[in-house]
Amino acid sequence: MSEAWLETEALDVTYGRTHAVRGVSLTVGEGEIVAVLGANGAGKTSLLRALQGAVKPSGGTIRFMGRDLTNAGSAERVRSGMMLVPEGRQIFVSMTVHENLLMGGHLRRDQSAVEKDIKAVYERFPNLAERRDMKATVLSGGEQQMLAVGRALIGRPKLMMLDEPSLGLSPLFVEKLFSLIQELNGEGLSILLVEQNTHMALEIASRAYVLELGRVTLQGAAADLAADAALAEAYLGAEPA
């Protein structure tokens, strides 16, 4: 495995008496796609919220590129290269497509370079370019997901975290999305992919973690997990291999 960029150690997240994440240690290396799998309520979203600084972990540490970011705010994490694409394609509803993309570069001061990056996003997603001055809410669900990914790219992340990106998308768009994730990964971006679509996630990931009730119950190479009988039973409906 290459050098770890993101590293959590014994991470705990609690809301009042609810223990959402229990002692999770995971790593994402340079240029890796790592999947985090699990059913609803397994703690996947809480884990991401802690990673992005939206909730303070009650225990453990988060390190990124050698820096301790356990208690850092969201801005510091974005600056150091972590960017989260939230669940449900949360675009800014009052804004145009272009303004949404501008928000991705909120912390950047190099305006001309931001414009260049936005142009690159338009080249990647011609649909967005055509609708740049329209309200982002007129986009289809799939296009909104592309916008959310594009917006995150404007922040020039080193690690992109995606929270259930395939949720509610048509099978065709899910295919497109996963090949996009692979494409971005090929360009050097590390990916932390939180998914319920276990089949697809294991297909593109190099490694995966399975969360159950906030704990990592299984981890390993994606190919091994895909063949694992226990995982198959829990998430793949125990289809014969």
Binding site: L84, F92, S94, L102, M103, H106, A129, D133, G155
Partner: protein, 309 residues
């Protein structure tokens, strides 16, 4: 110009500035129902400095703005911890506390109020209103304006983009408080007298209505809202008796042309308010509407994008 028009332009200018003060908070998703409190702070700061300390006009007006802004900044930290209806109640309570303190303060004239020696004509408020309006339009077109909208749209995602949501809200709230204070200082000098009864709860409600019914999505909203609700009662002042006469004439009732009760103007205003809430819940002026009225803006932009290809 007649005294009537001078008075109308003065109050219109003050209301526009006041509405922009509340707009800045509302644009970040914070309903501020304490407008009268901030306006009273500005008015009394200006009045006190003019009356008791003989300060020149620019000092008193600037001080009114600064006092309201600084107090707005200070209370925004605790008060912006509240959300939704509790924030509305919190800001409302703040205005009541300000009114109570002034009412019980001998230095500020208590219930009798304070005379203000330096008089300003309609031109000072009008110029100030133009500067404030241009300033808010400019502010909303900057990156800060974009960030303000992002916080209004979705504070969680704004935070994900690295926006300091709390700081944006505090700044917008404090800047808004300063504008409300400016409107109060102008009021003090334009009317040569301040009394706390003027800065009451219904004033806070009215100014919030200007913003919500005018539209809080763009800087056009408060301008139209304040103008509409300042001018409509005035327009009704003339048309209402004429209307009554016409109705009575049609019904064949003779000699009943006594002017109708003043309160009818406010009944009609109330009905207009309810109708606007039903038919334009996003306010009179929405972003979609502004964008549709700007086809000229889009054409060069598209051409520019093509040229860049």
């Amino acid at each position: 110009m007649s005294g009537y028009w001078i008075g109308l332009i003065t109050i219109l200018s003050i209301n526009v500035i006041f509405a922009y003060g509340i707009f800045l908070a509302v644009a970040t998703g914070q309903l501020n129902l304490g407008g009268a409190g901030f306006q009273a702070l500005g008015a009394y700061a200006a009045a006190y400095l003019a009356m008791e300390m003989d300060q020149p006009l620019f000092v008193t007006i600037a001080s009114g703005m600064i006092v309201a802004g600084v107090i707005g900044f200070a209370i925004s930290f605790p008060i912006l911890r509240l959300k939704g209806v509790y924030l509305v109640l919190g800001t409302f309570a703040f205005a009541e506390v300000v009114a109570g303190l002034i009412l019980n303060s001998d230095a500020l004239g208590g219930a009798t109020g304070l005379p203000v020696p330096t008089f300003i004509d309609w031109d000072v408020p009008a110029i100030a209103a133009v500067i404030v309006a241009v300033g808010v339009f400019w502010l909303m077109s900057t990156r800060f304006g974009l960030v303000v909208r992002s916080v209004h749209d979705d504070e969680v995602v704004a935070d994900l983009m690295g926006v300091n949501v709390r700081m944006v809200r505090v700044c917008a709230f404090a800047l808004g408080a300063a504008l409300a204070g400016l409107s109060g200082a102008l009021y003090a000098h334009a009317y040569s007298f301040v009394e706390i009864q003027v800065f009451n709860a219904s004033l806070s409600i009215y100014v919030l209505l200007y913003v919500l019914l005018g539209g809080a999505q763009t800087a056009w909203g408060p301008l139209f809202g304040a103008a509409f609700f300042t001018l409509l009662p005035e327009a009704l002042r003339d048309t209402l008796p004429a209307l009554k006469e016409a109705v009575f004439g049609a019904l064949g009732i003779e000699g009943a042309a006594t002017p109708p009760d003043e309160s009818w103007r406010f009944v009609i205003l109330g009905v207009a308010t309810v109708l606007m809430m039903i038919f334009r819940p996003e306010g009179l002026i929405t972003r979609t509407m502004v964008e549709r009225l700007r086809p000229l803006n889009r054409a060069p932009r598209a051409a520019r994008a093509e040229a860049a290809e």
